[in-house]
């Protein structure tokens, strides 16, 4: 009786130790998994932030080019003041909006995009009227300025593409199971990619 009791105690004790260690193991695994997920999310969020900074740099670069462009056009087409004024105003409006990517709401991003889109449209109108001024088009300085502007538009498109890729990678991580649980606990929200530019879905008109 006594021995069997002792045996029982020993076995239950062993069982408890076993249970305890497996619980500990589970906690350890959980912790390591969580930290792994957490670190990955932090890394990807940092990439998104950096790519956003690249996008803003390119938009800033365009904003810096505009005064020079406006002045050059003014020299040849001073009476197009309305179009020139529109570009300057759109630029001023757009440069006032800056976004902190770590806590930007989708609305903020949309507002930023809309403001920059207005600059694009005003610039498009300005470049369209320059077609009417052969002297301006023949001006080498203007040609090079225009090339810089085109290059900047290309850079904007490229940096936006890269930003969207980073956002997509991050969003997929955040929404995947079981990452979504940890993302919810640690407050990793989905990020907003750039939407296609208004009018970009239209194919350009060809006139002969």
């Amino acid at each position: 009786m006594k021995t069997s009791f002792a045996k029982q105690t020993v076995s239950s004790l062993q069982g408890r130790v076993k249970g305890g260690s497996s619980l500990l193991l589970a906690f350890f695994l959980l912790f390591s998994l969580t930290s792994c997920t957490y670190n990955k999310l932090v890394e990807q969020e940092e990439v998104v932030t950096q790519k956003w900074a690249d996008v803003q740099t390119q938009y800033q670069r365009r904003a810096d080019l505009i005064p020079n462009l406006v002045n050059t056009v003014k020299g040849y087409a001073a009476h197009e003041s309305e179009t020139l004024q529109a570009v300057v105003e759109a630029r001023t409006k757009a440069t006032q909006i800056t976004i902190d990517p770590s806590n930007a709401t989708p609305e903020q991003i949309a507002a930023y995009q809309a403001a920059q889109g207005e600059v694009s449209q005003a610039l498009g109108r300005l470049l369209a009227i320059t077609e009417n001024y052969p002297d301006l088009k023949a001006n080498e300085q203007f040609s090079e300025l225009q090339a810089q502007l085109e290059g900047t538009e290309n850079r904007i498109a490229e940096s936006r593409r890269i930003y969207n890729e980073a956002v997509q990678t991050y969003n997929v991580s955040v929404r995947k199971f079981p990452n979504n649980i940890w993302a919810m606990i640690f407050g990793f929200d989905k990020k907003t990619p750039f939407a296609a530019e208004a009018g970009a879905e239209k194919a350009p008109e060809v006139q002969f």
Partner: protein
């Protein structure tokens, strides 16, 4: 062309009406003739596209990959061989001295007709330029689309800003393009680009990144290959000697007398059961060894592949180049003429 087509369609419709009255045999015969005619029309339509290929990023040949002295892709033979040789020489100097890796392509037509998009896709596909400097350069002229682009890698945007690219295009390329002198246009452009690159000492040559030059790499490769082959030979010799060892009389006089193979598909294993008999004392021993079916037979295949690649690359006088993985942000300038 469209007149002919409508005529044919009208005839087909007429044919359908009359076929109700006529014998079925006649209709099918006429249909066959019409079908052949239509096929002929389709062929004539397809002919111009067959004569001059429209290039995509995927089917544009890149000779550089086979021979690292060939930077120019001239699949439609628009440039003369003399011009191509000069261009290759200058672009080679640019890579050796300043680590600027260039792809210059002159084609009749590209898909989509947008040279900037094409260059960007090309740069993205191959990763032109070194990763350290991001000093890739793509120059494309599509004579049929009458469009051109100079695309600069991120690391070249300081040396060749967009405005400078445009200036080179306006001053060096355009006048020759307007006269249809493709050779002169490309030679002038590369000459001007090279002058800007040569003026920038911050760009360092490819030889500064990896110290060993081609000859050193070749010697190292040969030595490694010789050692590798010797090691494989030694292993095979040792393996055979071990198999021939007789545990009874301690001599290497065992000969294989039979062998049987069993397969285990689930594990992906092929087990060999070989029986050896000693020619000296007639002792018999069994050897069992497993072979992984999934990865193929190891030693012989690896040896063959190594030997093959050795002789393959030993034949030519220069090696294929590889692109460094440089990135492009969209810098450069494009234009039409």
């Amino acid at each position: 062309m469209s007149n002919l087509l409508t005529h044919l369609i009208q005839q087909l419709q007429q044919d359908r009406h009359t076929s109700l009255q006529r014998a079925v045999r006649h209709t099918s015969l006429r249909r066959a003739v019409l079908f052949t005619l239509l096929l002929g029309v389709a062929h004539i339509c397809a002919l111009p596209t067959l004569l001059a290929a429209t290039y995509t990023v995927d089917n544009l040949p890149i000779p550089y990959l086979q021979d690292k002295t060939q930077y120019v892709s001239n699949p439609d033979n628009i440039l003369s061989q003399t011009a191509v040789d000069s261009l290759n020489l200058w672009l080679g100097q640019m890579e050796d001295e300043h680590g600027v890796q260039t792809v210059l392509a002159v084609v009749e037509r590209i898909q989509g007709g947008e040279t900037y998009d094409f260059c960007m896709a090309l740069a993205r596909k191959y990763g032109i330029g070194s990763k350290q400097q991001n000093s890739g350069l793509v120059i494309l002229l599509s004579t049929g689309d009458r469009a051109y682009t100079i695309l600069t890698g991120r690391g070249l945007e300081g040396t060749l800003p967009d405005a400078i690219c445009k200036r080179i295009e306006n001053r060096q390329m355009l006048p020759a393009l307007r006269e249809g002198d493709w050779d002169e246009a490309m030679l002038n452009t590369v000459r001007a680009v090279k002058a800007y690159i040569d003026g920038d000492d911050s760009l360092v040559g490819s030889s500064d990144f990896d110290d060993d030059d081609d000859i050193g790499a070749l010697i190292g490769f040969c030595v490694a290959m010789f050692l590798g082959l010797a090691l494989i030979g030694l292993a095979i010799w040792y393996d055979n000697r071990k198999k021939a060892y007789c545990p009874s009389c301690h001599q290497h006089t065992m000969k294989k007398i039979s062998s049987r193979v069993t397969k285990n598909k689930r594990l992906g294993l092929r087990t060999h059961h070989d029986t050896y008999r000693c020619t000296h004392c007639f002792f018999i021993k069994e050897l069992h060894w497993d072979e992984d079916i999934r990865s193929g037979s190891g030693g012989a295949a690896a040896g063959g592949a190594l030997g093959g690649s050795f002789f393959g690359s030993g034949g030519g006088h220069s090696f294929g180049g590889s692109f460094g993985g440089g990135s492009f942000g969209g810098g450069g300038a494009s234009g039409r003429f």
